[in-house]
Symmetry: C2
Subunit: 145 residues, 2 copies
DNA sequence: GATGAAAGTACGCGCAG
DNA sequence: CTGCGCGTACTTTCATC
């Protein structure tokens, strides 16, 4: 991972479908050289994969919330992951240090659906309480370059 | 946005560099038909753009935290966004309802850098206090399909 | 379907260890 | 002298009309 790789990465973060030709033009490298470096970054896991960034709103995901969960005693990571992965509205879960034990990212179509989802989260085994923050607006979001 | 569009979207979420041929093979559509639909989704803003998903760890971003911020009185969205956008470690900011006023997503190379970053966030105008949750592990993260 | 562009592959060269 | 990484040339596949 040198400066050239980082420059290629910046191009791919900005446009994940950029051609090797176009990237090569920007970083002054031939298309095959760019491909080799991209393949290497993929093999090393530096690039996980490529994806489309979608607008949640235009897909009907109007409500977003971050829900802290507090549990009673010890809960295994796998246990928690498995039970929460079964809820489609749960799009991310992180174990955290601090007051709460875990942070859950929820996307829902409506406030009612959010309520249902939190209700479902609360049914998780040994879950003590939750503390929610509903997203009012995204101020900004950027990819790490 | 019909089922066919959603099927195409699923392909692009799984592989943002998939060719129109490959997508067409999966959804039983000709490559030009796929392209027209993708272009339409881009034009409508349903697909925002394409990008590479990178592994934060292999790029040196070893520490991740969510920082709630509480401010004193009213703070304008633009004001907050502008001042926090100046901190490179701040990768996302959302205004939220609940106890806190905003939620800040922070990525840092080390605990020391995280400390510095929180210190910087605290220097934001009219900021009263912060409450941090350091991410211990990602249990899972998925894209909304 | 046809054409032009990009991806993928093979081979040889130059440079650093 | 070996390994790595680039570029050129060529074939296959894809995009676009």
């Amino acid at each position: 991972m040198d400066d050239l790789d980082r420059a290629i990465l910046r191009c791919l973060l900005a446009d994940g479908r950029a051609t090797f030709h176009e990237i090569g033009r920007r970083v002054r490298l031939s298309p095959p050289a760019v491909k080799r470096r991209v393949d290497r970054m993929l093999a090393r896991g530096e690039i996980s994969h490529f994806t489309a960034v979608i607008d949640p709103g235009s897909l009907g995901w109007e409500v977003e919330a971050y829900v802290e969960i507090y549990y009673d005693g010890n809960v295994l990571k796998d246990e928690l992951a498995t039970s929460l992965a079964g809820i489609p509205q749960v799009v991310g879960v992180w174990n955290v240090s601090g007051d709460a034990d875990a942070l859950v990212h929820v996307m829902a179509g409506s406030i009612a659906e959010l309520e249902d989802t939190i209700e479902q989260i609360r049914r998780t085994d040994r879950l003590q309480r939750t503390r929610s923050a509903i997203v009012l607006s995204r101020l900004f979001e950027r990819s790490l370059g």
